[in-house]
């Protein structure tokens, strides 16, 4: 691989990896909106239709 190949590979892989890590960081550290507390749905909608 020549120098140009190295540069393109590092920029491409580095940019998508950085974006991915930043997004995960934001998702994990940004608190969810008030009133948006999720919970497990133990019952499926079938129960509702009975």
């Amino acid at each position: 691989m020549n120098l140009g190949g190295w540069i393109i590979m590092l920029i491409s892989v580095g940019s998508v990896t950085s974006l991915f890590c930043w997004c995960i960081y934001k998702v994990l550290l940004t608190p969810e909106q008030e009133g948006d507390i999720h919970r497990f749905e133990i019952e499926t909608p079938d129960t509702e239709h009975k």
Partner: protein
């Protein structure tokens, strides 16, 4: 029409992000993307790829997330319901039919490919895949999928696809039966990290391959990466009688270059030429392939994101979630897939082994590669198992839009809906698997639904978002609850640039791949897909299209008669 919140919801924000990224990450990330990047030259392709990502990928992704969540708040989870409810135009539900048809039809053949991945993983583990030549690898693949004759795929030995098909079909419906959070979300929460870890393990193995054959020093990992990422291409060319220069072969590696220069010096009609990055960017096929890859890779236009987003709550952050799911897909594609498959294939098989179709690279070349490397049995198993996980997370997402639609249109619960969809897809998959000769049914449905209709659906969605809902209201919908807003420039991009770019790509693609018109040479020959239907009729191809029409008609019929889809146009009095 109801305004109650959807009953089912995602359990966590990270859960839906993993589910959406799981939907997007599939075989294309590890097989199709590296094949295209190496074909066109890494630098030029990546430039076109990132431009397409910014113009098409993010725009349609954010539009789908925003429309889906808005539809969910109005009590709709299926594409016909969402488009009808949020636009206030009842006839738009018929365009929404595509959002159910596309994933359901794709599932019918995708589950077959998913079974190949599982079958190859198991056969690697059992030590059945130790190929000495390409012919052996091709023969195994042909026998495994039943390519020789219709009906040949229905075998249930370990070297036949039948058992694996039943197993993956049951797994998919078991997970979908458990529900959104306890089935899809729970599975993706484990499968996606596992997939990334497996990919990293295989990647380390590939990066440490060195030069496996000292007698052929050009075949090494560095040159494999160079073949994929170098911004320039070096070709040995020969002049024809007419004076044009034709490619003889591509050159990678010092010894190959030295041989080519020597060969060129023996004849004035031969030359070694370097194609620069700007010259590669003038190739329209490169732009078409880059845009197509972004398009198919991100699961946009599948009807999946709009459905998944409809289960969000009012103030969930769709801008960040959309970007996170998209970036996870890009990481898997560029950061993992881009370093793994093509360099490995090049290192053992040279350029000839690293080029070819997605399925050829995945199921012919790579099994040979793993057969040739130390501990190949283990790494072959890990690689195909990672493909299997990627395929399951995608196929699950193809079922949920159909489930939601049946629940709403037939007013039945999830379990009954799963049973009805299971029946429909079992018939469809049975059709695809039975007509396995030359994979005709699979190929035909993949072309007309998995490519053509996806273009149509994505175009419909972005036009509805930008022009029917209106870009101002659309961005307000997207920005609700967002930790950062959609950049303002995207208002202009989503309204004008994305539809124009998409329509241009779609027109060029149709001209070339349906009508067979070569824009560069001006020559025309209808594509095999067109010929199969209208010029040299092929029974299986025609039946495949008939199957698409029957399923589309069934969905449209349900959308017409369902009480829940009896929308009123804006301004009409409610009775």
């Amino acid at each position: 029409m109801t305004s109650s919140f959807p009953k089912e919801t995602w359990n966590s924000r990270i859960g839906i992000i993993l589910a959406v990224s799981g939907s997007a990450v599939g075989l294309g990330n590890f097989l199709r993307f590296p094949g295209l990047a190496s074909k066109h030259g890494g630098g030029a392709f990546m430039l076109a790829y990132f431009i397409s990502f910014l113009i098409i990928g993010l725009s349609i992704c954010w539009a789908e997330w925003a429309m889906g969540r808005a539809g969910g708040q109005k009590g709709y989870n299926s594409s016909p319901g969402i488009l009808g409810a949020i636009t206030g135009r009842k006839n738009l539900k018929y365009l929404g039919v595509l959002g159910v048809l596309v994933p359901v039809m794709i599932y019918m053949y995708y589950v077959y490919i998913e079974a190949w991945c599982l079958g190859y993983a198991v056969n690697f583990m059992a030590g059945n895949l130790e190929f000495q030549s390409g012919d052996e690898a091709s023969a195994f693949f042909g026998s495994f999928v039943g390519i020789s004759d219709n009906g040949a795929a229905f075998g249930f030995g370990i070297k036949q696809v039948g058992f694996f098909l039943v197993a993956v079909f049951v797994l998919n419906f078991f997970l979908i039966y458990r529900g959104l959070s306890r089935g899809i979300e729970l599975f993706c929460k484990y499968a996606m990290p596992a997939l990334i870890i497996l990919a990293l393990v295989v990647l380390v193995r590939v990066m440490t391959l060195g030069t496996p054959d000292p007698g052929n020093p050009d075949l090494n990992v560095s040159n494999g990466l160079g073949y994929m990422w170098n911004p320039t291409k070096v070709l040995l060319e020969e002049q024809t009688v007419g004076g044009d220069w034709q490619k003889v072969r591509e050159i990678v590696g010092e010894r190959s270059l030295s041989n080519a220069v020597q060969e060129a010096s023996t004849s004035p009609r031969m030359r070694v030429r370097e194609i620069s990055l700007p010259e590669q960017l003038t190739n329209f096929q490169l732009w078409l392939d880059a845009a197509g890859q972004i398009f198919f890779s991100l699961s946009i236009g599948f009807g999946v994101i709009i459905n998944y987003a409809s289960y969000l709550k009012r103030k969930d952050d769709v801008v960040l979630s959309g970007l996170a799911a998209t970036s996870a897909n890009e990481f898997c594609e560029v950061g993992l897939g881009g370093l793994m498959t093509v360099p490995a294939a090049f290192t053992f098989l040279g350029i000839a082994g690293a080029t070819g179709s997605t399925l050829g690279l995945g199921f012919n070349a790579l099994p040979m590669v793993f057969s040739s490397m130390p501990a190949g049995q283990l790494f072959g198993f890990l690689f195909f198992f990672l493909l299997f996980l990627a395929a399951v997370t995608s196929s699950l997402s193809m079922l949920q839009p159909g489930i939601a639609f049946l629940e709403e249109s037939m007013e039945i619960g999830r379990h009954r809906s799963v049973a009805v969809l299971g029946f429909i897809t079992a018939i469809g998959s049975g059709f695809v698997v039975y007509f396995s000769k030359d994979l005709k049914a699979l190929d035909t449905i993949d072309f007309w639904v998995g490519t053509f209709l996806i273009f149509v659906l994505a175009t419909v969605q972005i036009i509805i978002f930008g022009w029917v809902i209106g870009i101002k209201r659309g961005l307000e919908m997207a920005n609700q609850g967002a930790s950062f807003p959609v950049p303002k420039i995207y208002g202009f991009i989503m309204k004008f640039i994305t539809p124009a770019f998409l329509l241009t790509i779609f027109a060029l693609w149709t001209t070339q791949n349906v009508f067979g018109y070569n824009i560069i040479t001006g020559q025309q020959e209808y594509s095999s897909y067109w010929k199969d239907l209208f010029i040299e009729p092929n029974g299986v191809a025609r039946f495949s299209v008939l199957l698409i029409i029957i399923v589309a008609s069934f969905i449209a019929f349900l959308a017409t008669i369902a009480n829940k889809f009896k929308f009123q146009n804006e301004g009409e009095n409610k009775s």
